[in-house]
């Protein structure tokens, strides 16, 4: 699945953000095109802050962000054209129907009118939203709302999908359908960077995993590489993750 020689989908260099304490502190991450990259870390590690800076929702104090060669800080509009952002709280309008929501998002991304209808209906069918397509979103369950938000994130066919804890509160069936959609997208060449606390998801889906702690990247690599770095042998990702987070982060990232 991983295309090592492909260009970079996302390149973060020296990224920093300070609130009342450093939230992100000199972060370097590279996500390759067509790669499924998962960011792990304890609460407050700086994962969400990092992703919000990438999507232009927060201004970094310093550092650079490049999305498919586009400088996301100097030309955010161009970078946003190829990105999609999905948070754990579905960003949808209660008084719109899923169909209207997708049309609205398509309008925001300036997609040609002819292409929108086919694409929205495909996404609705793909995510099993057909029975709810014409109901107001306020009446939908958390899982269905999250699927609507995911459909919204995919409607403009982004090349980089950024997800922050997308499985929070989803039932098993909804979570599986979201995972399937993401896998399909990656298979088609799309890149995904995602945070999650569900280590099982990271273990099964990630091409590479980055572990953040205290605003820094403390380890990065495939699951096997992370195991080797911690000397954990055949330990689970949970054991490996906890060993990484609990170790002295001041030693800097353990590069793959």
């Amino acid at each position: 699945m991983t295309q090592i020689s492909s260009p970079l989908a996302l390149e973060i260099q020296g990224l920093a953000k300070h609130f009342d304490r450093p939230a992100v502190d000199g972060l370097d991450i590279r996500v390759r095109a067509g790669e499924f990259y998962i960011l792990l870390g304890p609460n407050g590690a700086g994962k969400t802050t990092t992703l919000r800076m990438v999507t232009g929702l927060l201004k970094p104090d310093r550092g650079s962000i490049t999305v498919f060669g586009i400088d996301a800080l100097s030309d955010p509009v161009a970078a946003k054209h190829v990105m999609a952002w999905l948070s754990d709280e579905p960003m949808i309008y209660d008084r719109l129907t899923p169909l209207e929501y997708l049309n609205f998002v398509a309008g925001l991304w300036g997609i040609e009118s002819d292409a929108v209808e086919t694409r929205t209906h495909e996404l609705i069918a793909w995510l099993g939203l057909t029975p709810y397509a014409q109901q107001r979103c306020e009446g939908l369950s958390k899982g269905t709302r999250q699927k609507v938000a995911l459909a919204g994130a995919l409607v403009h066919e982004p090349r980089l999908i950024i997800l922050d804890e997308p499985f929070t509160g989803l039932d098993a069936a909804s979570a599986r359908s979201v995972k399937n959609v993401l896998r399909e997208r990656v298979a088609q060449g799309c890149s995904v960077i995602m945070t999650t606390h569900i280590l099982d998801v990271a273990e099964r889906m990630a091409d590479r995993i980055g572990v953040m702690s205290g605003g820094k990247l403390v380890a990065e690599g495939t699951l096997e590489e992370l195991r080797c770095q911690t000397g954990a042998g055949q330990a689970t990702l949970e054991d490996t993750f906890l060993a990484l987070v609990e170790s002295d982060t001041e030693q800097g990232p353990i590069a793959a």
Binding site: R95, E100, N103, G107, I111
Partner: protein
């Protein structure tokens, strides 16, 4: 130590919640601001006492024995004030069923639902009484100062009215639940509450407008028509009025009536409270409404998509619509009154100029808040490939479009009647609307649009600046009808208000 689960324990819990709700409403959650607001309220309270003195001292003859005119005046005032209390009570009861997040917790516990409902209904009565007493206190205190301590009995009548208003509201809500179901009750109850509340404000102004040649609100009650149709002085209907004037027995009767009504409501509603609350909770988060024809957002322009989104969301929220339009309803009577006094009979069409300008400023403020601060998907908009300036422009255009739709027809009518009036109104509406929108933009704060009712809490400066700007632009419009040169004075003041709001606005990176 109070034992858990008892009536006293519930009462303590409710009192604590109510107090914190009030404190938050006044301070917006900031302790330091709470002190400033308290001092400001005290100053305002003293000021209102002064106003009450100026209004009552010259017009009430305390030495003369009470006659039918006085009975009718006090009775009419009680009816109008009672309608306001009934509106407050309806609002409180609706909130108790639909907007309390702790009902599921309490109903899933082993606590007694009857006790809870009894305390909650009493808490509503206490809250309505407290609010009404604060509003009535200046008049009652001044009456007692000028006419004697027996007027203090009016406090008791206000408390009795509060109990009766809550009892009526509770019973009405339960009956609505039964008749039209939990789903529609919320909207219908809110509409009834708004209409009843508006009837107070409009009734007071209507009374003044009908009293031609005077600004007195009481003149209508003293007219021959009303006096001839009023019951005789010894009628039972005057018991509440006798109570206001200090008749001890009448006060006991009125208080007993209020208490009995409240007890009856508790008895009637108590056993049903749990079921009704659960029914309300069940529908509030899950209304499935289907649209066969989807609104068309399929355009190549993000600006168009944003504008349409704002309009569709507004049209699909009858509660927000009614809240916005209700502001206009409250404004109309006083402005008609002022304009009528100002222009006389020669410029009938000119009456509309300040009314429309003021209403446009207020409506634009509400709509701008919804579009700018009440954005439910801020991350989606911010992560879209659209420049921030274009987003703000589209949202401003959405507000301007809605204002145009509402005020376009009256402007056209005015242009037909008198082109100069039409031009003044158009210009006034545009500038008042733009001012209110700018203030909302400078003081924007991302919140859920469902918090529209509390939008005034987030920034008092923005609230006052918006109100002053609308009022002053309306005054400028009113003066422009007579003399363009004089209109420059309030226009300069309005611009100064705007500049002040801009200078005080939070600085953003």
């Amino acid at each position: 130590m109070i034992r858990a689960g008892t009536l006293t324990w519930y009462a303590q819990h409710e009192t604590r919640l109510a107090w914190r709700d009030w404190a938050w409403l006044l301070s917006g959650g900031r302790r330091r601001r709470g002190y400033a607001v308290t001092v400001g309220l005290l100053a305002f309270f003293i000021f209102v006492h002064g106003l009450a003195y100026l209004a009552l001292a010259p017009s009430v003859d305390f030495t003369a024995p009470p006659d039918k005119r006085l009975l009718v005046t006090i009775g009419g005032t009680l009816i109008l004030y009672g309608s306001l209390m009934l509106s407050q009570a309806m609002e409180a009861v609706t909130r108790a069923f639909y907007a309390r997040g702790d009902l599921e917790l309490i109903l899933s516990s082993s606590a007694s639902v009857e006790r809870l409902s009894a305390v909650r209904i009493c808490a509503m009565a206490a809250s309505v009484a407290a609010m009404s007493l604060v509003l009535a206190a200046p008049v009652i205190n001044v009456l007692a100062w000028l006419g004697g301590a027996h007027w203090l009995a009016a406090y008791g009548v206000v408390v009795a009215l509060a109990m009766a208003a809550v009892a009526i509201s509770v019973v009405l809500t339960v009956v609505l639940f039964r008749a039209i179901g939990a789903k529609r009750t919320r909207l219908v109850a809110q509409i009834i509450s708004a209409i009843v509340g508006a009837s107070f404000v409009i009734g007071v102004q209507f009374a003044a407008i009908l009293s031609i040649g005077t600004l007195s609100r009481v003149a209508l009650f003293q007219s021959a028509v009303v006096l001839n149709h009023a019951p005789d002085s010894d009628s039972f209907w005057w018991v509440p009025v006798d109570a206001v004037m200090g008749n001890g027995l009448a006060l006991v009767v009125v208080l007993a009536f209020g208490a009995l009504a409240l007890a009856g409501a508790i008895r009637f509603c108590g056993p049903r409270f749990g079921d009704l609350a659960l029914a309300a909770g069940g529908i509030s988060s899950n209304p499935a409404r289907t649209y066969r024809r989807a609104s068309n957002f399929r355009t190549a322009s993000p600006g168009q998509a944003l504008r349409r989104k704002e309009w569709v969301l507004l049209l699909r929220d009858p509660w927000l619509m009614s809240q916005s339009l209700m502001q206009l309803l409250y404004l109309l009577p006083p402005f008609f009154l002022l304009a009528r006094s100002f222009y006389g009979e020669n410029h009938r069409a000119a009456l509309a100029v300040p009314v429309l300008i003021m209403a446009a400023g207020q409506l634009a403020g509400g709509l701008a808040w919804l579009a700018i601060s009440g954005e439910d998907a801020p991350d989606l908009i911010a992560s879209a490939p659209v420049a921030a300036a274009r987003i703000w422009r589209a949202k401003t255009e959405a507000v301007a479009g809605a204002i145009g739709i509402v005020f376009g027809p009256p402007i056209v009518l005015l242009v037909i009647v008198d082109p100069i009036l039409g031009f003044i109104t158009f210009f006034g509406i545009a500038i008042a609307g733009a001012s209110a929108t700018l203030i909302q933009f400078w003081y924007r704060a991302q919140v859920r649009r469902s918090l529209f009712r509390r939008r005034h809490v987030s920034s008092r400066i923005a609230t006052f600046a918006e109100a002053f700007s609308s009022i002053i632009w309306a005054s400028a419009g009113a003066l422009a009808v007579v003399n363009f040169g004089i209109a420059m004075v309030p226009s300069a003041v309005a611009l100064a208000v705007l500049a002040g709001a801009w200078l005080l606005a939070p600085k953003r990176p």
